[in-house]
Symmetry: C2
Subunit: 292 residues, 2 copies
């Protein structure tokens, strides 16, 4: 049986086409243009690329997008004041603060200052908590809560690829607030049995080998090798490690490919989905703000 390469670009393209139609409809029928503000503090080159890519992706499907570029020396109070103004601006439906922030600013405080109704990243504690207590994916999708983009994108990739989550053993390597933890409760809502591993896990290979669905999200280049993967597993590689040779995932693709049923490549797997889900969340924000 040939291994399926899960094509994130293709799924993302399909979803973005659908979103483009929705944005067009919102404008034509309701006079609403979804709007996203991205706040960037400082001039980290990687962050600047991310922010520009988000803006481009917005514009391609008709979302109004604005980059609020602030100096690295901006004080916390100034940033809070900017957020307050965007919170009160009805043209702005989504607010995203590009992380990491300079060390003199508390990311926690900043995230909590964003109105939960405009928190398209899904990082506000209120949204995190609302999501966690939902019992099923159907309940989550019915509610007006933002799902964090990367885990949401992974669930969509699995769905599009026809991979059964219910009853599957899912093992997540990595417990970040952006991927590992929220993905754990999304997979739980999909009725998977979920294990979370991390740097303190003993016998990692033994545990990853149990996985029907293995998610690598540790940020260490090619650490997951063929020996650590069960025959016929589905492997989702969230890693984005920029090495001299180029962009590399957390999975050693070549040693794993022969054993698995399906795998996401890097690049072209999870990556394109993350921005797509941000677009989706922004469109949702615009709809919800209008009571639609």
């Amino acid at each position: 049986m040939a291994t399926k390469i899960i094509n994130g670009k293709e799924v993302a393209f399909h979803l973005r086409e659908e979103l483009k139609r929705k944005v067009y409809e919102l404008k034509a029928k309701k006079g609403i243009t979804p709007g996203l503000v991205t706040i960037l503090v400082g001039d980290d080159p990687a962050s600047q690329i991310y922010v520009k890519n988000k803006k481009k992706a917005c514009e391609k499907i008709g979302i109004y997008s604005e980059i609020c570029q602030l100096d690295a020396s901006t004080v916390e109070g100034e940033l809070l004041e900017r957020i307050r103004r965007f919170n009160n601006n009805p043209q702005v439906h989504g607010i995203l603060v590009q992380l990491p922030l300079p060390k003199h600013i508390s990311a926690e405080k900043i995230i909590e200052a964003i109105s939960p109704q405009k928190d398209v990243d899904g990082f506000h504690p209120f949204n995190v908590g609302k999501l966690l207590v939902k019992k099923t994916m159907a309940e989550i999708l019915k509610s007006e809560i933002f799902i964090p983009c990367t885990p949401y994108g992974i669930i969509e990739l699995l769905n599009f690829s026809g991979i059964q989550m219910k009853g599957a053993e899912a093992v997540i390597v990595g417990r970040s607030n952006i991927v590992g933890k929220p993905l754990a409760y999304l997979l739980l809502a999909e009725d998977a049995t979920v294990t979370i591993c991390h740097s303190q896990t003993k016998n990692l290979a033994e545990i990853t080998k149990r996985a029907d669905i293995l998610v690598a999200a540790l940020g260490k280049p090619e650490i997951i090798t063929g020996k650590m993967v069960k025959e016929g597993a589905v492997v989702i590689d969230v890693g984005m490690n920029r090495l001299a040779v180029g962009l590399v995932g957390d999975v050693n693709f070549n040693s794993v490919i022969e054993k698995v049923r399906a795998i996401t490549p890097v690049p072209g797997g999870v990556g394109p989905m993350t921005i797509t889900m941000l677009l989706l969340n922004t469109v949702k924000a615009a709809k919800w703000s209008a009571g639609l």
Copy 2:
């Protein structure tokens, strides 16, 4: 090696003595009497017992406690108005709404109406989310966030019993919002490798057998038997099933006892800890409200 019976009553007694001293000090030095309001809607007999037990436990250590008993026919708006008044009352440091509520009242809406600063049950989405994003237990304890009582009590029991969580394989059976899910992220903050099982888990026995620490929180009498437990494991039984024979846990104690290193009995294990942590949270609420 003899199996250790983890004595929840003893640990609870020790903690309550400590709390009694703290309450005395708060009164003597700061003139603050911690106050807890428990709201009970309707006349469910089990709920009435729980509420009375909480009141008694409060009084024993010097916490002021009030039961707000409302008729089963109370409408949602009336309950919301009561909560608003308790939110604004500076003598009230903790507000607890006894669940379940009558069906015509949305528990979600009611929990969200409680001020997060008075949410001593730790069920408000804001508190749930704040807790989830913390990385270590030290970070959690340093922050002003309420930890849900039953999972908090379990962590304390493990600590008091000298059971190493770091690097241990912890398996939780049950994914409730009151026990399973919050316990998963507390154990994660303690550096355990955590697996969550539930009704849709396949080969449950195979998974429970991997556990160094096994937590049974499904609410099904004696479903965990000796065959499902690893030699030398630590077993925490959260079950409280009222049968004709009396109170019975989720673990079949007699078939498990010979195999395990330590186990909590029912009654006298997790039960006494839950109320104790509620008392602790109420004292914390009083201290935090005074900026202490």
